[in-house]
Symmetry: C2
Subunit: 448 residues, 2 copies
């Protein structure tokens, strides 16, 4: 299984990089071929030549429930190569961990679901009807799958949706997610000059694009961490007290979390809110990078005509990504100096989603984790975003968002890894789950 | 002459880029060989294997004054290649202008001085004793030449120093510079995390290095353009009223200057000070670029552990670059959030210089310009910096800082150019100047 996964990880399917379009297609083909080898039929590559959704159906099992397995074959850019201890697309097992870009997000976790399907099948017959929908744009907006959901909504319908794309709350603490944050990712472009100028010739009168951008960005958040985008907090619904109380029961060594897991001297955000609330139930604003001017070796004295920031806001129920984009645009324009032309361009919008966890499928997953790990599920939220989740939740009886990663997996960062033990646990947990779902007379429609 | 200059311009002698070390040495060798071909002797490459100072002496002319010709063979980085209409190191003449990196700064202007020396020589005998000191680090701190000035101060001694490294005040308005700004160029490094983090996992609690840096940078200047570095303005000496009044007589179409020359909607800086005062006699603070995080295609959601800004302050008499570095460092530390580790590293320090323009050599230069251009010299200041100028001024009777460029030469920017007509005028003006200096019985020590 590991050797197969390593083949999958070798494909640099970075969906945000147009230079990797062919690799994204290769990853889709690899996954389709693999599903075929496991007995799946009706295999299709849908919606895009370069970033198709892989659709496949396991062998039909009449009278049994339909389980939709969702995952994504695309990965984040590798980032600074010099920070990787082994090349990001040359997977390596070190100290019980598989290191590669995509190891945990999401190729490794997805592959645990695929292998659970394989392990639970007996003589080519799986316990339930399984549909695979595996996309190639989760890291870049998910437009292809979102369009597919509009065109073929029947594909989104299932009794239970399984998603494994995130970490446990902590080692030994499996968790299912009650809510997933949305995202509004945008580029802010600032132009102050027709062309770059030399600070020795025009320094003192030429408006500096970086200075304008820095002024705008600094205005978007208070030093205390409150986002200064008018209207942003209006729709933010605080989680019920019962849910917030349950978070207090989760283990959290604040000092170790701060120093070892986050890697910071002190945490950011409003200190009057718990760490979990800041991570899961409050919007954020982060700057991801600033381009323009000169950042190479030495002392170039350019006043850049243009500067660009990549920023994103994570959103919480009941915020709407499109509305937040408008609010951000207005705040940027309000903060811009008169001499600056600004533009805010959306790169990636996804609404936040609240999931119903009262479904019996949650109990089966809880039991499977209890048996394999010795501890049942904690109900948490995800600070990340999953563009298609809203459509999947609307089309299905239950959505189980339960990851297999660990918090130190370096998701989206150099040296991403996935614990081999977590992978094997995942195969066992999800294999059991498929069996339990098959036996559930309510879910499979057999009645009592 | 143009064909020779184009050979010189083809050498990409970018002194701030270690990858161009060999090219810098090649440019030095090219210039030394060219001076040898013009009859210079005592040719030496001094102080550095990669960025040597080229020293050469014209044929001795006993009883005549010694003129030191200073210039630099190094150039700025080319910057964004896609912005160039022709490749920066493949010189091209278009519309009467020679386009290349270094065309105006300083290879073209320097070459006009070299060719003036050639043109003024008759049967191998120049009118005055000429020494060439041509450095390869003017764009990167000038350390090699500064060290040479300490080791061999006699090399800096001359009756008159000629520098052509800057633009005229305006087309048709030749100018000599009374003062040159200094510079304090530094990198500001900010670290908030041990490693990059994912905003979906840690957004809301992980302190963002770019946010800290943006907050620091925004704090360093008021929206009105006043630099907020405590102590910075203490030593700033305002030019005398007579000098400021003379600037008011210079032509300035403020709207055309703003829109066409600077290329801005409105000018930056204190509107209560004239444009000339802002350009020449007030300190500046510019951000040149910000590195760290992700600036590639698409929506990577990284929270960068580190971010770096390149910034510089231009300094005016009587500021001192070393003191300003300390003031900047203190201001950066004061503005840094608690969770940020900051470091300020100097890349390039040069003190401002005031030049004595009462020397008779100034009158000769004025006459030469009057004859060639039909207008004598305006006395201006330079907003740029020339690290060695202080040493040259201390070792000589007079320093003439009189450029040949035009304000729209795109110095330090894409599509740098030098007018062929300006080049030819320069050869004529400086050729005459050498003759006039030879005939001046006071300067050449012959007495009356």
């Amino acid at each position: 299984m590991l050797s197969e996964l390593m083949d999958f990880l070798r494909i640099p399917s970075v969906s945000t990089d147009p230079a990797r379009d062919d690799d994204c297609r290769r990853a889709a083909l690899w996954m389709a071929e693999h599903l075929r080898s496991l007995g799946c039929a009706e295999l299709e590559l849908l919606g895009s030549d370069t970033h198709p959704v892989v659709h496949g159906e396991g062998p039909p099992v009449p009278g049994r429930p339909r389980v939709l397995i969702y995952g994504h074959y695309d990965v984040q850019p590798a980032g600074p190569l010099e920070a990787w201890l082994s090349p990001p697309f040359d997977p390596e097992v070190r100290g019980g961990n598989l290191h590669a870009r995509g190891a945990t997000d999401d190729k490794g976790q997805l592959f645990a679901l695929v292998k659970a399907f394989e392990a639970a099948s007996r003589e080519g017959r799986p316990p339930v009807n399984v549909r695979f929908l595996i996309e190639g744009q989760e890291e870049s907006g998910g437009e292809v799958l979102l369009a597919l959901a509009r065109e073929r909504p029947e594909l989104m319908r299932a009794d239970v949706v399984l998603v494994a794309d995130g970490p446990w709350y902590a080692p030994g603490w499996p968790s299912a997610e009650v809510a997933v944050r949305g995202i509004c990712y945008a580029e802010i472009d600032v132009q102050t000059l027709a062309e770059d100028r030399h600070s020795g010739l025009y320094g003192g009168v030429a408006p500096n694009a970086h200075e304008a951008l820095v002024r705008i960005l600094a205005a978007l958040k208070s030093p205390g961490g409150r986002i200064r985008v008018p209207g942003l907090y209006q729709r933010v619904v605080r989680p019920p007290r019962s849910e917030r109380d349950s978070w207090k029961a989760l283990p959290l060594d604040l000092e170790a979390f701060t120093r070892d897991e986050v890697g910071a001297a002190t945490l950011a955000g409003d200190p009057r809110r718990t760490v979990q609330e800041r991570l899961w139930a409050l919007p954020t604003l982060d700057i991801h990078g600033i381009a323009g001017g000169y950042t190479g070796e030495g002392a170039m004295t350019v006043i850049a005509a243009q500067a660009r920031a990549k920023v994103s806001l994570r959103l919480v129920p009941e915020q709407r990504a499109g509305e937040v984009l408008e609010q951000l645009t207005a705040a940027v324009r309000a903060a811009a100096p008169d001499h600056a032309r600004v533009e805010v361009r959306p790169l990636f919008l996804a609404d936040p989603v609240l999931v119903d966890v009262g479904h019996p499928a949650s109990s089966h997953l809880n039991r499977a984790f209890q048996e394999v790990e010795g501890r049942g599920l904690s109900l948490t939220r995800s600070g990340g975003s999953l563009p298609i989740l809203g459509e999947l939740a609307a089309g299905s009886g239950a959505v189980l968002v339960a990851g297999l990663g660990l918090p130190d997996d370096n998701m989206h960062a150099p040296n991403e890894k996935f614990s081999v033990e977590q992978f094997l646990k995942g195969v066992r947990v999800f294999g059991r789950l498929l069996d339990y779902l098959a036996d559930d007379t309510i879910i499979n429609g057999g009645g009592a």
